[in-house]
Symmetry: none
Subunit: 415 residues, 2 copies
Amino acid sequence: MTDGAAVIAVGTEMLGPLRQDTNSLWLAGRLEEIGIPLLRKSVVGDVPAAIARELDSASRAAPLVFMTGGLGPTADDVTVPAVAAWLGVPLRRDEDFLARMRARFESRGIAMPAVNEKQADFITGARALENPRGSAPGFWAEREGIEIILLPGVPSEMREIMERRVLPELRARAAGRVARRRILRIGGMGESAVEEMVAPVYARFPNHPVTILASPGEVQLHLCIRGAPEEAQAVLEAMEGEFRAVLGERIFGRDDEGLSETVGRLLRDRGLTFSVAESCTGGMISTLLTDVAGSSDYFLGSVVSYADAAKAAFLDVAPDTLRRAGAVSEDVAREMAQGARRRFGSDVALAVTGIAGPGGGSAEKPVGTVFIGISGPRDAEVVKRRMFVGDRASVRRASSLYALELVRRRVVAAP
Amino acid sequence: MTDGAAVIAVGTEMLGPLRQDTNSLWLAGRLEEIGIPLLRKSVVGDVPAAIARELDSASRAAPLVFMTGGLGPTADDVTVPAVAAWLGVPLRRDEDFLARMRARFESRGIAMPAVNEKQADFITGARALENPRGSAPGFWAEREGIEIILLPGVPSEMREIMERRVLPELRARAAGRVARRRILRIGGMGESAVEEMVAPVYARFPNHPVTILASPGEVQLHLCIRGAPEEAQAVLEAMEGEFRAVLGERIFGRDDEGLSETVGRLLRDRGLTFSVAESCTGGMISTLLTDVAGSSDYFLGSVVSYADAAKAAFLDVAPDTLRRAGAVSEDVAREMAQGARRRFGSDVALAVTGIAGPGGGSAEKPVGTVFIGISGPRDAEVVKRRMFVGDRASVRRASSLYALELVRRRVVAAP
């Protein structure tokens, strides 16, 4: 068994299509900070046999098991007796706690409902963890070297007990071990191509596995180094340096900085203004750019020229070009970019025209064909033709992000 | 062991604080429809020993185990060999599949990276499930009465394989008991206001609880009736009828039909064309409208007039109006709508101007203030002022959806 933690969320409602356990995300983040990796997490219903089976599984995977939910007063809250049964210990009624709970209700002018009484049933041999925000206490129990920490499912209550009673103790034990994280974000490349380039870096850090993740329009490298704070930081910086040496300008941002933030930062730093002419992306590039607070510093606006007439009226695309080359063509992409730059008076303009599907494709220009034009900040216009696979939403998203990546490279290269 | 399913999501990145498994939500919903309850779900890292342990646990909890993720070409994709080892069978290289995969890469003008070869390593004795959207096939394996269904982690690929290859077979087995679902979608109202109106309907169907859910810009009523197919259908229709009697036109759509689809359908049915002038929403309304395939039938385009100069140049907003009333004002919203309608030559035009934040607010017009103007299809322009709470993303989203809801009501009311 490796060092680390498991989380079990208890609650039948989290097994349907609508509700998700989110406590485990918060727990993962707080545990990671003190160098405790989350090895496994799971969700089970409010069923004693299922809870027992899950404790078997989790305790085989990790020596520290967090369990959230099912501590409430209602009939479907069965976690406490289920855990006591699994530990092989009886429940005991804590009369002091019961009296305090009753007093708390009375101080709010409410008689304590009878159902709440069961919250005074404590697990024999376990430490009770006071809950300043609610009536259900948590518990910290142990069996054969496995620690079980029971917490309420209400996020604010769970967090408060963790912050006050659990994390300080775990932190003291961790004796300085931390986790340092970094996300490197790469644009305009596929996952396998990135992996081929960075394989030599992986090989130099065999003890620090890196996760590679593809999402539309970008590939991410997730680094996570555990150890003493300074050592972990040094390893992280060395790894990042090596990845940067290999990938160079292909890395567009790190951690939370997405492509729109990066493009915005570059434009602002260089004092450049920007405009967009969109067709198949239908406003998505503008939406991504204006998601960023303060984007009005550099973003002047865009035209979504869906109809051909709009391409002519708002962007001065020549009707002759539309007739001759078609709306999805290199020439139209170029004229759209030129038109946007001139009409908005921006330093740089981007244009995208393509076929997002499902209809509209042809043998010569199948669904997924996209032309991307950039005008400015200097030099001649560039137009790239690309082919994106997938459904309408994927083509639109991939086109938008690839176009922004081209803008980034162009602006980076500008003096 | 009860009848039902378990889901295991494989991927170390889903054990950190940033990424959540969402495939299990979709799987839970689709399985529920054919009467298969989800009994347990879990997440483990890309670690063969952990995957084997998790298969032990899941197969004790349910006879049908779905496993998503880790089928990709990179070094951290270890699910296939881990499952084969757990089943006690060797992998076999499928040369036909390898040749087809190579051909697919070549058809896109790319040499297949060597790392992809391992995706042709099949689990001996398992059925391969063809993946029309990606290179990694799924697998359907069995061991001692436990069925293991391996699926890619990419949601679109996972769903496609489920819809085409897995669900039809499970549905055929389910023999009789079904779940019938309906989602009724209500625009322009808050959750409590909807709940007050529908409380009498709840009371008439005490055995069929309804879930009410609020999301930005809409409230949803989720109905789910279990039973024999015809009986469940009849109850569902009776309930829907009663909700419609109470809510009337406030229901804009059902199930998958979102507001953009509804607005698009109404415009197409009435032969009306549409254009948009956006400011604070930055292209989001256009993006929502053009998410819908075939939207070019009615959507002519939009102008995202972020800078004041663009409002004048592209939409003929009078510089004097901008000076006198300010860019976020009733008068500017009206002129933007008029300008878009005239310039695009559309039957109806929508305009939105507001303050999404975090900066730009004032005592008179705090962050969240939004003006929405509609011009056409007949009668005078209308402009509404609204105040939305939340961060930049929430204000933008709520404004966009509320604006589309106003268009829907206006078009519904048009003869």
